[in-house]
């Protein structure tokens, strides 16, 4: 019975992310947990979702988990093997991507993400890889799903650099800035699942992971996180866990 199911935090987060994908949607996937999520979704409730990788693979049907968006494994069963330009212009900018997965080192209450550097931009304390395609996915996908480690310092009042724009300063500031669509729909972290208020676009706690409390999650957040709508995060089903462990990542490339 599902109540006795054993699962890891990574498995819980992956399942939560996978459930954000609807069948038939066009999904822009990134490396790591998002790859587990899209493959799980395609193997379970969303068999017709179209998985796209910015490096050029379109509508992949992967037999093995890729370790990079440029991985030869993403070409397996693909409808198209093109390049970055076709994916970014014809698919993403043209408005054909329903959901994009992104992550980062810092996230603020409006879902703005920093994956560039910590400290002074010109003399950073810590440098990260940079945007890659994250800024573009954040700007041009119809909605984004954000994956993050949940620590107070990683969810601060203000992030050091906006690599990937979320709802900016909330309200209609995203539209005013010149972005034609999109915005973050959900943030799946190591402690809970957060969503955004319809008009203010401020982040609120939608669910806390089993074993935690809404207050505990809010206390570990660097900004005020409303918790009044919070429930417990739905746990993985035995079937989801079986497919995740035996089909998606039997090698435990990303699963822990």
């Amino acid at each position: 019975m599902s109540t006795t199911v054993q699962y890891s935090l990574t498995e819980l987060m992956t399942v939560a992310a996978a459930r954000e994908i609807k069948d038939g949607e066009v999904v822009f996937a990134g490396t790591g947990l998002p790859m587990l999520g899209v493959m799980l979704a395609q193997q379970t409730h969303a068999p017709n979702c179209v998985i796209i990788f910015e490096a050029g693979a379109i509508a992949s049907r992967m037999a093995h988990l890729p370790m990079s968006v440029g991985d030869p494994r993403t070409v397996r069963g693909a409808a198209m093997a093109a390049g970055l330009s076709e994916v970014f212009t014809y698919c993403l900018q043209a408005g054909r991507v329903d959901v994009g997965f992104i992550s980062g080192a810092q996230i603020d209450r409006y879902g703005n993400i920093n994956s560039t550097s910590i400290g002074d931009y010109h003399n950073p304390k810590v440098r990260f890889p940079g945007s890659g395609g994250s800024c573009d996915i954040a700007c041009l996908a119809k909605r984004t799903v954000i994956i993050a480690a949940h620590e107070k310092r990683r969810l601060p009042e203000k992030i050091d650099y906006i690599t990937s724009p979320g709802w900016l300063e909330g309200g209609d500031s995203r539209h005013k800035a010149g972005l034609v669509r999109g915005g973050p729909a959900v943030v799946v972290t190591t402690k809970g699942v957060m969503r955004f208020h319809d008009t203010s676009h401020e982040m609120y706690l939608a669910s806390y992971h089993p074993g935690l409390s809404a207050k505990a999650v809010a206390d570990d957040t660097g900004f005020v996180l409303p918790t009044e709508h919070a429930t417990e995060t739905a746990i993985p089903t035995a079937e989801e866990l079986r497919i995740l462990r035996d089909v998606v990542d039997p090698e435990r490339v990303f699963l822990k």
């Binding site: 490396t31 790591g32 990788f53 910015e54 490096a55 050029g56 037999a63 093995h64 370790m67 990079s68 968006v69 440029g70 991985d71 030869p72 494994r73 993403t74 070409v75 397996r76 093997a81 093109a82 390049g83 970055l84 330009s85 970014f88 993403l92 900018q93 560039t116 550097s117 931009y121 010109h122 950073p124 810590v126 440098r127 990260f128 890889p129 940079g130 945007s131 890659g132 395609g133 994250s134 800024c135 573009d136 954040a138 700007c139 041009l140 650099y161 906006i162 690599t163 990937s164 724009p165 900016l168 500031s173 800035a177 010149g178 972005l179 034609v180 090698e251 435990r252 490339v253 990303f254």
Partner: protein
């Protein structure tokens, strides 16, 4: 038709100190690593790199002190190393000049150069610090004609003021080096799997150097003209370099090498260990043959060979390597 075939050593020797270059590939696939090792052996300095998502190709060049300025969107080996360690250190130490863009922005810049226009418009970047902030100063831009006069330019559409776009300046490099699956001696190439931004990068360079896993006849490639993406008359030189992308993958030929990538990433954060990596795998070997022997020779490489049904090695162990 005169042959464009040259040796890897001859190809590397064409690239002088201070040259502006882009390398083909994307994070874990089809980087011209053999040529990059040759550049390090030649102790090239002050190179100016343009890229979208390079990986260890840039990281080892930067670590070896060959690079002065870069314009890019991302530098890491993704799941093999979520940050390029020498790139991170170089930025934190102020050892290289850089400018941050997004992948779409850099590809748009290569596309503009390839198309022969001074810029192209896009709808990305709005609201981000990629748009709002510049890493390079106006003085740095003005001092090098190869750097765009401005990072980007925001404008309203003259056809509808309600529509705003960002214009990205074209890139023109002195050199582009691509590693591909097949090439003919006239410069006709065949890219299998994802093409990344290889075609655009080649077409905005003055001199295009191809390193290829296999040299095939022009006639063979002309059998499928829909599969050839790069006009051969834009290619200057072709070198035959089997396993030329190791430790990165080449679709249909071989997979990435998790062991070699692990060795690199375990040591690269430490200056001494990185120097030792260079001594063992770059300076300590004279050519590609010695390099392949140094990384384990046939015993290692045979395990990476691609299964024709997959285009990679389906049973490759990627974690918990003994």
């Amino acid at each position: 038709m005169t042959s464009k075939l040259i040796s890897l050593k001859e190809a590397a020797a064409l690239i002088p100190n201070g040259a502006s270059i882009s390398f083909g590939g994307f994070t874990s696939q089809r980087h011209p690593m053999a040529l990059i090792y040759a550049l390090i052996r030649l102790r090239r300095r002050d190179l100016y790199l343009f890229g979208h998502s390079p990986g260890g190709d840039w990281d080892i060049l930067i670590g070896a002190g060959c690079v002065k300025r870069v314009e890019l969107a991302y530098e890491a080996d993704e799941a093999f190393g979520t940050i390029g360690p020498r790139w991170r250190l170089a930025i934190q130490r102020g050892a290289v000049e850089w400018e941050d863009y997004s992948n779409f922005a850099m590809v748009t810049r290569f596309q503009a150069g390839a198309m022969g226009v001074p810029f192209l418009p896009m709808r990305s970047l709005f609201g981000s610090d990629v748009l709002a902030r510049e890493a390079l100063s106006d003085e740095q831009r003005a001092a090098d004609p190869r750097t765009a006069s401005k990072k980007l330019h925001v404008m309203e559409s003259p056809f509808d003021p309600a529509e705003k776009v960002v214009l990205l300046p074209a890139i023109h490099t002195e050199f582009c080096v691509l590693h591909v699956q097949k090439a003919a001696e006239n410069g006709l190439v065949r890219i299998e799997g994802q093409s990344f931004a290889d075609v655009q990068q080649a077409l905005c360079a003055d001199t295009v150097i191809i390193t290829a896993e296999e040299i095939v006849s022009e006639e063979e490639l002309r059998q499928d003209p829909e599969r050839n993406l790069l006009p051969f008359f834009a290619v200057s030189h072709v070198a035959h370099v089997p396993f030329g992308a190791h430790p990165y993958a080449v679709y249909n030929y071989y997979d990435y090498d998790p062991r070699q990538l692990k060795i690199y990433h375990e040591g690269a954060e430490d200056d001494a260990q990185f120097e030792q990596y260079l001594a063992q795998f770059v300076y300590g070997v004279n050519d590609q043959a010695e390099y392949l022997a140094a990384v384990g020779g046939a015993a290692r490489l045979d395990g990476l060979k691609a299964d024709p049904n997959f285009g990679y090695s389906p049973n490759l162990k990627r974690r918990r390597l003994d």
